[in-house]
Symmetry: C2
Subunit: 200 residues, 2 copies
């Protein structure tokens, strides 16, 4: 079995939301699994000096329109959330806590969190909100709340963020396949062609 594709994302990244809808399906068609790796884009931006897209003159206004257009073309729900962007520690910690037991369930949780934030515009900063979104998936709310407050899971997210940066991740969404890096939701077609080229 070839190595899985690594999908790096932040729960507050619109283009990550779009990529999350398709990445598993995209790479499965090429015989690969996908491992999802939420990280903190804010921690990365502190190092690279980057700014959130929506705050950059001209580019910010363009992107706000592009997200709406992309959602329409992909036929996925879209609301520009307010506040945006948000701290995503609670969602990302919850993801790793769920994932250690059940990676498939963690992806379902991630899609629920993304859907609440970018589909409905619901602020998912608070651990209580994250727990509420996990509950319909059969995840115990109190256990989740205890887990995301735990030092071990806090350190885990810091380590995952550091590992992403060490691996060369400089934005989100970001994908690494056998050491080959791809940046952006626009690169899904290229990931597919690259994997098929390796297999040929």
């Amino acid at each position: 079995m070839p190595d899985p594709v690594h999908f790096y994302f932040d729960f507050s990244s619109p283009y990550s939301y779009f990529a999350a809808q398709k990445i598993d399906w995209t790479v499965k068609g090429c015989g690969r699994e996908c491992v999802w790796k939420p990280f903190l884009l804010g921690a990365l931006f502190k190092i690279t000096g980057s700014q959130p897209l929506s705050t950059i003159p001209m580019k910010g206004e363009y992107c706000i329109h592009d997200w709406q257009r992309m959602a329409k073309m992909m036929d996925v729900p879209w609301t520009l959330p307010d506040p945006f962007p948000i701290p995503t520690q609670a969602a990302a910690r919850a993801f790793y806590w769920i994932s250690d037991d059940d990676p498939a369930l963690a992806k379902k949780f991630a899609l629920a969190a993304f859907g609440a934030y970018f589909g409905e515009g619901r602020d998912i900063t608070a651990p209580e909100t994250v727990a509420e979104l996990a509950a319909p998936l059969g995840i115990d709310e109190n256990a989740l709340l205890a887990a995301v407050a735990d030092d071990a899971i806090k350190q885990r997210l810091k380590d995952e963020t550091a590992a992403a940066i060490d691996a060369g991740v400089f934005g989100a969404p970001f994908f690494i396949v056998d050491g080959e890096a791809f940046w952006g939701n626009d690169r899904l077609w290229m990931i597919k062609r690259w994997i098929k080229g390796q297999a040929a």
Copy 2:
């Protein structure tokens, strides 16, 4: 006849080189013509405070690899030129001078200039080089050299660059269709879908 698509580019922009190979063909399939509009990305960057991609830490190294990979996947020649980026006044002025008489010939010239720079890695800064590249297309070298040194054509390029910025262009390649803006070589599929959606 609906309005043409406007294609804004700089002769020193790799993703513009890639877009130039396909844009006419892409929009013709949707019943549109395309007007090519070279401008000076450096003048724009002075206003927006942006940096050339290749000079940005991490992102720069990634892009250098991405250009090579993109060229391979698109099956177009690729050399990372040195020097890069370069001033493209001569090529852009020549383009408008040719285009005023014959827009189709100007596109052929643009593809020749792009091909020399990014296909062969030949420095196209000097007016003499630009004139040499135009000669095989039946364009008089001395007339071109006189034209690109003329104040009127210098002003023309300044005006075109100012008009691009006024139209909201903040990078290259950039496309505007009926006032709808699209940024990047990655947006060709979306331009196609957008035009088809308008026609439906």
